[in-house]
């Protein structure tokens, strides 16, 4: 990962997967005042990068996650994905790009209730086309097998432990072989030991697939696993030295 000027290059020759240049995000609040949530963000994320972003509540982490996940657009600056200016894409095109290229992992797992682990992992494939759509059950089963839940595919989320639920969520995020994985407090709902196991798995499958992994976290133990480290403070992104 690289933040040009502010952050040194990661030493890769690949073009960035995601690139933010002088990105700001502002919202209008009461009395026509503006609230600057993100200010002058410069960031490059390359394939296979692994980076963590830490910050206090209200520092703009969620907004940055929205931008990286193509769920929101910058107020100013440039956001490009695979070299395409995201702002030039229509909403549906962004959604299709997001579905095919970005996988989300959430703090509360956010598995769909009432569906089995297999059905949860199949869900993103309902939005795919071609082979991924028609072979969705096979692909989902293979992914669950990969995260060690081959024998629990027919279980409902309510019958799974927190660690197992997060592994289902990881399988779901990776089943469309995304190029970018965005993990929002992925261990926030897990105990330390389970969190460590889940993060190890996440690092492993991300490395296998060659996807870039961006982890937003409060947890220093999780942040330290990344190869690049950033801190978001009052909307400003700064590189950080690796934690001890």
């Amino acid at each position: 990962m690289t933040a040009p000027e502010a952050v040194p290059a990661a030493g890769t020759a690949w073009p960035p997967l995601v690139s933010l240049r002088q990105v700001t995000r502002t919202v209008r609040i009461a009395d026509s005042k503006e609230l600057h949530i993100l200010r002058g963000i410069d960031l490059d994320i390359h394939p296979s990068d692994s980076l963590s972003i830490v910050g206090r509540s209200g520092s703009g982490k969620s907004t940055l996650l929205n931008l990286l996940g193509l769920l929101d657009l910058p107020t100013e600056g440039t956001l490009s994905f695979r070299g395409m200016d995201v702002r030039a894409l229509r909403g549906d095109a962004r959604a299709r790009l997001r579905g095919g290229a970005i996988g989300f992992i959430f703090q509360q797992f956010n598995l769909l209730p009432g569906r089995t682990a297999l059905e949860n992992v199949m869900t993103p494939l309902l939005y795919a086309e071609g082979r991924q759509f028609w072979k969705r059950e096979k692909l989902a089963a293979a992914m669950l097998d990969r995260v060690g839940l081959g024998d629990r595919m027919r279980e409902l989320p309510s019958n799974l432990s927190g660690g197992e639920q997060q592994r289902v969520a990881i399988a779901r995020a990776l089943v469309r072989t995304p190029e970018l994985i965005l993990a929002d407090e992925p261990t926030g709902a897990l105990d330390i030991e389970t969190g460590a196991i889940v993060m190890e798995l996440l690092d492993e499958v991300a490395a296998e697939s060659g996807a870039a992994l961006v982890t937003i976290t409060h947890d220093a133990n999780v942040a330290v696993r990344a190869r690049s480290h950033y801190r978001l403070d009052a909307g400003v992104l700064r590189p950080e030295a690796a934690a001890a």
Binding site: S62, A95, F104, F106, N110, R115, T123, P124, L126, Y127
Partner: protein, 394 residues
């Protein structure tokens, strides 16, 4: 293709997962549709019953009553003029009619019975309600022995003989003639007087003279669109021959416009209200459901669901569900309305018991789909406005 299939799969999955909620919501829709369909069907059937009853009284729309005769023994010129009118205007169904009283020998002695001398078409034109035996046929006009059709009161008066045994009745006059009863008509009303129908040509042949006989009239069943024009033309034709005392007029129930139009409007209004109640109930549940599903919608958006797909999915769920409920509601309505104990009550007076109106079934299913689409529209609009990350953290 995969998008459409995916949306349908998603809709079915949602219905399966939330089956209790869906069932409760759909129960309301199903009952609304059943009520709507039943109201429309009942209205149609009751209206059909009333129309049929009216047709027995005055003929089908449009029936012209033609009278050119004054009382007198020789009406042959008038009858010939009627035949010429029928021929000239190619009128498919027509009948002479003479209202008279015929002397009948009964077990209790002679009775002068109200009688109508008609032609075979009269049965079709007046939708005669034959409960046993049959109405006149063209072959009857060629029969040597006169045939008789009587109402139930007459049949009872004669001791309720078995119709299949060709019971005979003696018509009294200067020369007594034996007639055979071939059909029994339902009484028009409770306490109806005995009444008999004979073929006009047979009474002429046997010189069966009625007492207090009215002059012959003609009834002609013509297309409603031509009724006014034919009225004017037949009037002119007959006036040229018989002078100004000719009368031609529409005598059917629809002569002054459809008298059941108001009933149809009332039924439509009630049906609309019933449907509106169902729609509001479903909309209410759908809105609550979308609020409840904000997080799920956010998750699906993060997987790449386009706003169109989310909109279509929510709509599809609603439409798929209400379509199923609509079909179930229509089936319930058919079961109730077509029940053998209920149907005769609804279509009282109908000779041909009307079947369950297909139109009512289509209105029911169509309304269910429309309600599903409308009740799905607002929640679908709400769903596409969900802010993804906020929704996921909801």
């Amino acid at each position: 293709m995969t998008a459409l299939l995916g949306a349908v799969l998603e809709a079915f999955s949602e219905l399966r997962i939330h089956k209790t909620r869906v069932l409760l919501a759909l129960l309301g829709v199903m009952l609304s549709v059943a009520a709507l369909t039943s109201v429309v069907a009942l209205g149609n059937m009751a209206s059909a019953g009333m129309v049929q009853s009216s047709e027995r009284m005055g003929g089908r729309a449009a029936t012209l009553g033609v009278s050119a005769a004054s009382a007198g023994p020789d009406q042959s010129a008038v009858v010939a003029a009627y035949a010429e009118v029928v021929d000239r205007y190619s009128i498919e169904y027509s009948s002479l009619r003479v209202d008279t009283f015929l002397g009948i020998r009964t077990p209790a002695g002679r009775i002068d019975t109200m009688s109508l001398l008609v032609e075979p078409d009269y049965g079709t034109m007046r939708r005669m309600n034959v409960v046993d035996g049959r109405w006149f046929t063209d072959a009857d006009t060629e029969r040597l022995a006169p045939v008789l059709i009587v109402n139930e009161a007459f049949h009872t008066l004669m001791g309720s003989p078995d119709i299949t045994a060709d019971p005979g009745v003696e018509l009294l006059g200067e020369r007594n003639v034996k007639a055979v009863i071939v059909g029994i008509l339902a009484n028009d009303y409770s306490g109806a007087q005995p009444q008999a129908y004979l073929l006009k040509n047979q009474t002429d042949r046997w010189e069966v003279a009625g007492v207090q006989g009215a002059p012959p009239t003609l009834e002609a069943w013509v297309p409603a669109g031509l009724a006014d024009e034919l009225t004017a033309r037949i009037t002119a034709d007959l006036q040229a021959q018989f002078g100004p005392d000719v009368s031609v007029y529409r005598q059917d129930y629809a002569a002054q416009g459809d008298p059941y139009g108001g009933l149809t409007l009332v039924i439509g209004g009630v049906a609309g209200l019933v449907l509106l109640l169902g729609a509001v109930g479903l909309l209410n549940i759908s809105m609550v459901t979308v609020k409840y599903r904000v997080r799920e919608i956010g998750i699906r958006r993060s997987f790449g669901a386009t706003s169109g797909r989310i909109f279509f999915g929510v709509m599809m769920e609603s439409v798929v569900a209400t379509s199923v409920a609509g079909v179930a509601g229509v089936m319930l309505s058919v079961a109730v309305v077509s029940h053998p104990r209920i149907q005769p009550l609804l279509a009282a007076g109908a000779t041909d018991l009307p079947p369950f109106p297909i139109g009512a079934a289509l209105v029911g299913v169509g309304s269910a789909i429309a309600v599903g689409a409308l009740a799905g529209l607002i929640p679908a609009l709400v769903a596409v406005r969900v802010k993804v990350i906020d929704a996921i953290r909801y």
